[in-house]
Amino acid sequence: MSILFLLPSVVILATFVFIPLIQNFYYSLYDFSVFSQTKTWVGLDNFKVLLSDKVVQTALANNFKYAIISVFFQVAIALVLAYILEDKIFRRVAPFFRVVYFMPVMISISVIALLFGFIYNPQMGLLNSFLDLIGLGEYGKPWLGNSTSAIYAVIAMSQWQSIGFIMVIFIVAIQKIPKELYEAAEMDGAGKVRRFFSVTVPQVREAIFVNTLITITGSMLVFNEPYILTNGGPGFSSITMAVHMYQEGFVKDNMGYASTLAIVIFILTAILALIQIRLSGTGKDE
């Protein structure tokens, strides 16, 4: 009986998750395109190409920039925001801010990316005309059309969209901290900043680890934002590993090499996932 209950899930997972994963390793040893059914064995050639692929270097660097900036905003800043909103003194206004900060999380990335296309637009964009308005017009630029700023413009949009998500997880974690700890710290004369570092941070340590890992994993996988906003450009300046994989596979029809790129993404995220499973003890009975 137990097998019958498990069967549908196991079959679906095997067919659409595990078999593709294994096939991906096999594909990486071949050269092939969508249109020709014949696959040419190339052995580890795809991996050799990968090692000297300059675009891979740019893409990985961008993924890491994404990770570092995202950890700062989505873990550090989100934790501070959560702490402030859980402070008694802001109790009456906190629900309003909580909902507002969370709102972009619910909106489709296509909508957000199209909206930021309007914000970054060089002619009528909100950002440039805002800079004009406050007299900083000289700093205005075609944010997405400039090879230095494009990746940061893309990353900035992600922070805008996702900070509320991690913040809510921290709020839940902070709510579980026993009130006595804060009262004791207050009794000892600890100010708000001191209480944040000596009570909140140690108490939500696990949530900090897990959120950091989620954020870094997300940064290794990022596709939608650069794909919609810049398609990795100008040049390859805002490309990420996933966008590179997409372009090699579905634009240049280089499926074998794209599979090789997918393996790099898999290795990066699998390591992070293993650490996360270790830390959070998933699967253990409580």
Binding site: M1, S2, L6, P8, S9, V10, I12, L13, T15, F16, V17, F18, P20, L21, Q23, N24, L85, K88, I89, F90, V99, V100, Y101, M103, P104, M106, S108, I109, S110, L114, L115, F116, F118, M124, L126, S129, W160, I169, I171, V172, A173, E186, G189, E206, L221, F223, M245, S259, A262, I265, F266, A270, L274, Q276, I277, S280, T282, G283, D285, E286
Partner: protein, 279 residues
């Protein structure tokens, strides 16, 4: 007293409050701009970036709806509902089995499902495309529904399982004495008791299926079958300068999830925290 001094609304608190408000403006203003500009003409969006429209062009919404959004909307609804239904059914059955029985096989199945969580859509993309092609499923709604189910099942199963584990064993023992079968225990005891976590699963699955972009872009070519996230890209390319209509389409696309957020806020928060902190 120190205690009262700490609680008063001083300079620090005022600055903090202003920072909170400033951040709220940064979040809200673009959304408000999107809404206001969705009723402007192209000229007005271009030349009057900040202001209100002279004439509120409600027609933009009618045009957006009739020029494609209605069909993307319908496709999204079909794909989302099919995904939710399957994830709930298969996921709860698997979770029931994983929570109730103990055996080597069950342990293996649990490891299998946890491992499934480690694999991301990007990594399976190219083989999936080939599998779906081989089954002639590219350009059908199933090309989205089946992978969506597969990639949501692990998290749903683990969430449901940890909830099922907390259901007291005495309940089912007495049911067994009354002659209740496994299927009966599952449908009459576990499912009704797990209502909150089932709703959480619905919200998380809906949110994923409604907004998914990568598969939706690659597995569906035909405009008639596109869901909202990928459809909006076609919409943009087809409209060129009809920005007001595009913005109207963007607003329409966002409404269902915002309504869902407001209706089921507490379940979502719960799911986000349990789903991520507990893996």
């Amino acid at each position: 007293m120190k205690l009262t001094k700490n609680r008063k609304f001083g300079v620090g608190e005022t600055i903090t409050l202003f920072a909170l408000i400033a951040f709220a403006v940064i979040i809200l203003y673009p959304l408000l701009w999107m809404f206001i500009s969705s009723m402007k003409s192209y000229d007005e969006i271009y030349n009057n970036v900040w202001g209100f429209p002279e004439v509120w062009k409600y027609e933009n919404y009618i045009e957006a709806w009739s020029k494609g959004i209605s069909s993307y909307f319908l496709n999204s609804v079909i794909v989302t509902i099919a995904t939710i239904f399957s994830v709930l059914l298969f996921g709860s059955m698997a979770a029931f089995s994983l929570a109730k029985y103990r055996s080597r096989l069950i342990d293996l199945a649990l490891i299998f499902i946890i491992a499934g969580m480690m694999i991301n859509p990007q990594v399976a993309l190219i083989p999936l495309f080939n599998i779906l092609s081989a089954f002639d499923m590219i350009n059908t709604r199933l090309a989205l529904i089946l992978p969506y189910i597969a990639f949501r099942l692990p998290i749903a199963i683990l969430l449901l399982r940890s909830y099922f584990l907390s259901i007291p064993k005495e309940l089912e023992e007495s049911a067994v004495i009354d002659g209740c079968s496994d299927w009966g225990i599952y449908t009459k005891i576990y499912l009704p008791m797990a209502r909150p976590i089932l709703i959480t699963t619905i919200v998380l699955t809906a949110f994923f299926a409604w907004n998914e972009f990568l598969f939706a872009t690659i597995f569906i070519d035909s405009d008639a079958l596109k869901t909202i996230p990928s459809g909006l890209m076609n919409f943009r390319d087809a409209l060129r300068t009809d920005w007001g209509v595009l913005l109207a389409g963007m607003v329409i696309s966002s409404i269902p999830m915002i309504v869902l957020l407001i209706m089921l806020q507490k379940y979502l928060v719960r799911g986000l925290s349990e789903g991520s902190v507990k893996g």
